[in-house]
């Protein structure tokens, strides 16, 4: 009887899970399916392509436009992530460990940045960047990305730092470490899961951004993939670019999946176990 109910329950849960996954995956799979269709069958409404083709993929890699955007995306997202995580780590460390004047103000301001509607900042940023001559450059995108990623980074990281026993830092100081050494050699390695989690979140944010990418760039020089996709024309001016756009959409999810998989393996829980007797 009991066994029956558990298998029943399992079945029910399994079904529910499948339903959720299917619901979430349909649009993604649809795009993937479109990317493998030929222009002729593109609009036939079939989920599984009748004629498989890799033409769309060939097309996007032949156009300079896409490859260039891909390079921009990767470069900009990586640099912004690196800077945001390093700065965020230092700020979060100070917030979780030190008592300094203006601490609450700092936390408040970073919250404010996170809450600020980004749309309303686009035109001022456009003007500022033109004045500063960084419009349509990598720094022109990296800087706003860092600004908006920092609150996120500070919040997640300070939560991680708070979990690390304070005694470890005192012990490091007693062992002869400076504040910097204590941070680099004891605290940072223990906060690694937090650093990786934050890196993933920030990277995804930068990678997927469309708003800044479309408004703060004007040429291929610094246009990232999400922005470049909207300018897609396909192999020739007169071709319908739907298939190519779908292929590009599939391609740009690959780096992010790789990025997440790479860092996820490093996010092992229980890294601090054994430090202090609980």
């Amino acid at each position: 009887m009991a066994v029956e109910t558990t298998t029943r329950a399992k079945l029910r849960w399994g079904l529910l899970d499948v339903l959720v996954i299917v619901f979430a995956m349909v649009p993604v799979l649809w795009i993937a399916s479109l990317s493998f269709k030929t222009p002729a069958t593109l609009t036939d409404g079939k989920f599984i392509p009748r004629e498989w083709t890799l033409d769309n993929y060939r097309t996007i890699f032949e156009t300079d436009q896409f490859v260039r955007a891909l390079v921009n995306s990767i470069g900009i997202a990586l640099i912004a992530t690196l800077v945001a995580v390093v700065l965020g780590a230092m700020a979060a460390y100070a917030i979780s460990r030190l008592d300094f004047p203006g601490k609450r103000l700092l936390v408040g301001v970073s919250l404010l940045i996170a809450m600020f509607p980004q749309v309303s900042l686009v035109s001022p940023l456009f003007e500022i960047e033109r004045q500063l001559k960084i419009f349509d450059t990598w720094p022109g995108l990296i800087l706003p990305y860092i600004t908006f990623a920092l609150p996120l980074a500070i919040y997640t990281l300070s939560a991680f730092f708070k979990q690390i026993p304070w005694d470890l830092e005192k012990a490091a100081k007693m062992d002869g470490a400076t504040q910097g050494q204590a941070f680099r050699r004891v605290i940072a390695p223990l906060a690694a899961p937090g650093l990786f989690t934050t890196a993933i979140l920030v990277f995804i944010f930068c990678w997927n951004d469309f708003l800044f990418a479309i408004s703060l760039t004007s040429t291929e020089r610094s246009r990232t993939v999400p922005a470049a996709l909207s300018f897609f024309t396909g192999a020739s001016q007169f071709e319908d670019p739907t298939g190519a756009i779908c292929a590009a959409a599939v391609v740009i999810t690959v780096p992010i999946i790789l990025f997440v998989l790479f860092f996820q393996r490093r996010i092992v829980s229980g890294l601090t176990s054994g430090a202090v007797k609980g």
Partner: protein, 402 residues
């Protein structure tokens, strides 16, 4: 190696809490000093100030004759063992112990040699490649000790290093700590809650209460000659019995009968501002079954009779609990001690009397028994300020002294 001097050291926190007040303490080179006191009395704060982990609000701290108030922990050359052990979980035992040496930029060979040496002393050799997560509590404790001794610092500071171990291991580690300190001869300041540790480990014990030092002395001295009510009640297990005593016609009226007074105490009580009520303190071992006391001894004390509550036979002697009628002794110190020990452990001030009688005593639960106690060993305290009136030039002389 160095001496440590605290000169009127105080600590007040930004929120106004005064955690440590005017602590004067001279710790000689190589001495093992214990800081003990109830929770929140400022032991850890004092230790952290010596370590440099807390700023000193006022006063001066000298290590090896040098003022170190403004020096960072790393420049004081002191090692600390934490209650939580604070091992670096991402490093192996070897790396943990080598960490201070690596920071001191020693060459690899010297580091290895020193770590191996320390590991041998602490029997950690087979564990050197393990991570702290895979060690038992006692092993972690030893690694923490190893990390402290490996670089031969001027002094060791230990904040309740054994309190996370179970009772048996604690006794074992106590001897390890003691032997290690003797062997290395390094000045050590050791904070503990546990008065057995305080009594057995240290050369000298510092008793603190509310941020102030109450008394400093060798364990036996504190036990025999407590300067005040707090010290008397804190040291000793089971604790001293405290009874209310009213001053009457040159004697004392107590629940155990009338206690005659010697000239010295009487003179003290003749002063205009002398208290009219006292607290009488007497340790359990200064009672004896009246039948077993010889004539000579009998004259030095008085007898009373009371119903026996509980008899606990320890083999070598018997703990006998009596109920006594009469007014309870009351003082701020006693309430504080009771709160710290938990009311059950601190029977001292209640209507209960704890006595330690010879094993030969035929005492039976539920019956009345005649008991003698030694007047030369009793202490009399002023309930208003806790001062021990029987203390003369630092020696307790009992109630009868002339």
């Amino acid at each position: 190696m160095a001496d440590i001097v605290l000169d009127k050291v105080s600590k007040s926190f930004p929120d106004g809490t005064v955690a440590v007040q005017d602590v004067d303490l001279e710790i000689a080179d190589g001495e093992f000093v214990i800081l003990v006191g109830p929770s929140g009395c400022g032991k850890s704060t004092t230790l952290n100030m010596i370590a440099g982990l807390e700023d000193i609000s006022s006063g001066e701290l000298r290590i090896g004759g040098q003022r170190v108030n403004d020096k960072a922990p790393r420049d004081r050359d002191i090692a600390m063992v934490f209650q939580s052990y604070a091992l670096y979980p991402n490093m192996t035992v070897r790396e943990n112990m080598a960490f201070p040496l690596r920071l001191a930029k020693l060459d690899k060979e010297t580091i290895d040699q020193k770590v191996d040496e320390a590991a041998k002393v602490l029997e950690l050799v087979p564990l050197l490649d393990r991570k702290p997560a895979n060690l038992s509590g006692g092993q972690r404790q030893r690694v923490a000790m190893g990390r402290a001794i490996v670089r031969q610092p001027k002094a060791f500071l230990m904040d309740e290093p054994l309190s996370n171990l179970d009772a048996k291991l604690r006794v074992q580690m106590r001897t390890v700590v003691s032997r290690l300190q003797k062997k290395l001869g390094t000045t050590t300041v050791y904070v503990t809650h546990d008065q057995t540790e305080a009594m057995t480990l240290g050369d000298r014990v510092v008793i603190m209460r509310g941020g102030a030092v109450q008394q400093v002395g060798a364990p036996q001295e504190l036990y025999d000659h407590p300067r005040n009510l707090f010290v008397a009640g804190f040291i000793g297990s089971p604790s001293m019995n405290f009874l209310h005593a009213a001053v009457q016609d040159g004697g004392l009226h107590t629940a155990l009968g009338d206690v005659p007074l010697g000239d010295r105490v009487r003179r003290e009580l003749e002063a205009a501002d002398a208290p009219r009520e006292l607290i009488l303190g007497i340790r359990p071992e200064h009672f004896e079954d009246a039948e077993l006391v010889d004539e000579d001894t009998r004259r030095r004390g008085i007898e009373f009779e009371a119903p026996v509550d509980i008899v606990e036979s320890m083999g070598s002697d018997k703990y006998v609990y009596f109920t006594v009628e009469g007014e309870r002794a009351s003082a701020a110190e006693l309430e504080e001690l009771a709160a710290d020990a938990g009311a059950a452990d601190f029977a001292g001030a209640g209507g209960n009397l704890v006595t330690r009688l010879s094993a030969e005593s035929p005492v039976v639960e539920g019956q009345s028994r005649r008991v003698w106690f030694n007047l030369e060993k009793i202490h009399l305290f002023d309930p208003t300020n806790g001062r021990n009136l029987t203390l003369h030039e630092g020696r307790a002389a009992g109630a009868l002294a002339d």
